[in-house]
Amino acid sequence: MAAQPKPLYVRELNYLEGGGIYGWLTTIDHKRIAVLYGITALVMLLFGGVEALLVRTQLMVPNNHFLTAQQYNQFFTMHGLTMIFLVIMPLETGFFGNFLIPLQIGARDVAFPRLNALSYWVFLLGAITINLGWIWGALPNDGWFGYANLTEKFYSPGINIDFYDIGLLILGVSSVMSALNFFVTIINMRAPGMTFFRMPMFIWSLLVTTILILLAFPALTVGLIFLFMDRYFDTHYYRVIAGATPILWQHLFWIFGHPEVYIMILPAFGLISEIIPVFSHKPLFGYPMMAYSLILIAFLSYGVWGHHMFATGMGPIADSTFAITSMLIAIPTGIKIFSWIATVWGGRLQFSTAFLFAIAFVLQFTIGGLSGVMHASPPIDLEQTDSYIIVAHFHYVLGLGALFAVLGALYMYWPKITGRMLSEKLGKWNFWLAVWSFNATFFPMHFLGELGMPRRIYTYAPHMGWDFWNYWETINAYIIALSFIILAINVWWSLQYGERAAADPWDARTLEWSTPTPPPVYNFAAVPTVMARDAFWVAKYGNVEATGLEQSNVAATAPSLVDVSKIHIPAPSLYPVFIALGVFGMGIGMLVEWYRVVLMGAALLAISVISMTFEYPSWGREDPHAVAESFLSLDSRKVGIWSFIGSECVFFASLISTYMVYKARSTGPFDADILNIPLTSFSTFVLLMSSLLMVLALAGYQRNDKFWGTFWLIGTAIFGCIFLGGQVYEFGDFWLNEGMLFNSNLFSQCFYTLVGFHGFHVFIGVCWLVTLAVAGMLGKIDTKRSLAVEIGGLYWHFVDIVWVVIFTLVYLMRTIKHA
């Protein structure tokens, strides 16, 4: 007699149960990782809040000496860094993104679960790195924007800026890994039937956000690398005295920095777009326009960075261009605001705490947005820049905007995440205190700005007309803290005594509410088939326009019997923790200049990466189910490597731009005439031919010819080594025979950096090829597993075409001034 399948959800634990501490340490479940992000970000919120209170206390009365000027600089800098990188971003993307993406798109996990765990652990250790300054008494102290050349050793001789630089580099790695993972998940792992225009709006917002992260962070990374080199290797990337310009930092920083603003606000838009329809009992108004608006905002966000730099004197053409693009962003943003209002209009409103936070978001964000349009005008901006009006503006957008969206979403999703309800009574107290105190704190900053109070001053003289509002704002800042204490009490009360939450306590619209509360490890017993937008609502009430007063037929839509024991759950892994510790060790070693620690960190990183590569028993196997269950019938790994290559394009573009700009400004004994064209022509030929060998290796494995596959793979690695040998010879010749040191002049530092980073990519590629060749020799690669070679090959060919560009621009155009 055939065994009966187990009844749905009978024996399975929910994702919070089981495993103990080791289970949490090795988890690769997206929901647990979300919880880890959430806890870390809430702890960081406590840090950021205390830093803000210290700043406000200092400003409470004129001529105050509660803090020294140095301490004040550290606390306002850390407040910005903490709230942006360690609170808002991780809460929106790491916490809600991790928890909701697979659940909303009908997937069982993210595309790369172990990469997801690695992202979290690197984030955690990055957060610790940037906060280690508390122990040294040397927190970052130059603002979150770290303007050069204040960050140079000459002006900032302590290690404050090193915590900033290395901490942000580590956090950037985490952000890019997360973004890549989520991007691939959304693109490729949606449930059958979930077309782009059936995706929940939060998924749309994260899709766009991940693209922004992938294409914006590399510019910051390059800027931080230059800063690192200036501080550790005595180069001159931001030193005027050497012919460089600190404005370069501003460009690189704001090419990242303005998209970063949207990286923080677009997920907030998405969360609000989930909350408002649920508590209005109406579908989201203007769904297609909302989606297009997100895309347009993201697209425009890359063309507006200069509006942060009007005061640097870019010239009228540049100012006008950036002003126009900045003002244009108001159009798609306005579409979103009107769509939210139209969604509420005529709805059957349920004034829950979540809904109240959402409504407050719309109103307050509009205030912040309108002052943003003012700053887009250069003449107005020149008057207002670096005044408290700017502080008011970005706190309305991000504090009363993004943070309110997060709080609203926390109230809505808490039951799904924990299985318990929050107290609505305490929630209302939390809400009204927050609305009052945030507005009372930040709205008067507009007045202070108009009265001429500059940002970042640690104290001020009396009788400037600033005394009352500063006193008022500080009192209200403490009321903000009180509102968060009420939230903390509510959280504690809920976990201790809160009512058990039903699976769908809000009568919601999207797929995550169709799962049990808290969800099981595998999310969905049977992968859902999506027939419409607001899939769960349609399943319950038959059509998207239903009011929710109709009879729910949800029970009939759930499969009655599913054998959940056959659902594949990826195995946990400790390697992400080791890899993150390796990165952390390298960072800390550099900070304290213990180079043995750097080497130990690098060794731990390398060993852990290689070990994790071979950890999975079916290494490199093309999983037919993975391909079949992917929405586009594409392998997620291939989508992932292409996304990574896309991100690398911006990385190299930033390096190449700097080389071209600084080559023209370079003075001193060395210039591009030193370059050895015959040698490099040979190296170019070798690298191009290595690409031929790479495709021959792939073709070999694809026809299951393991010998020739491995043979060509080894050949590719050897050609890579020859290329690297040529580069080592070239560098050695310049260094030893010509005397061209790394920091001799602008040309030398840019040349060594650009060509050196390409060489580093080749080195990584060679290591990758050797790993593949070993796997090939061990018989782990065949036709079905040839995708592993194809992915390695794509990286290798990318390194090759980057060299095509470098060879042309750096070597063959060496005599052209502006090239």
Partner: protein, 113 residues
């Protein structure tokens, strides 16, 4: 997803791979790349071509770039999704380079940026 659907999807994925070119095509591409590289170096050393050096070198580099991306990276044969994933960031990267060049060399030429 049932087994039939799995097989169908895998079939589609493999069908795409079957369209990847084989060794002769790769070798022809390598020969063209070699010729283009030789031409690039020749152009660099030819005094009479210095006037058009920059546009010529850029065209040659673009040709090499396209050949490697289209044939060795299989963009010509694979899903258009991959082309989109590459071309959009590449365009953005090119815009960043052009914008910074413009800002530093032309728009801010007299402003000592």
């Amino acid at each position: 997803m049932n087994e039939h659907a799995v097989e169908h999807a895998v079939g589609r994925a493999h069908a795409v791979e079957e369209h990847h070119p084989q060794a002769p095509t790769y070798i022809v591409v390598a020969i063209i790349l070699t010729i283009l590289t030789a031409f690039e170096i020749g152009v660099f050393y030819a005094p009479s071509l210095q006037v058009i050096l920059v546009p010529l070198l850029i065209i040659l580099a673009i040709l090499k770039f396209i050949l490697v991306a289209a044939f060795y990276m299989h963009l010509h044969f694979d899903s258009r999704v991959f082309s989109a994933l590459f071309i959009f960031p590449l365009g953005l990267a090119a815009l960043i380079v052009l914008s910074l060049m413009l800002l530093f060399f032309y728009l801010g030429e007299h402003l000592a940026l």
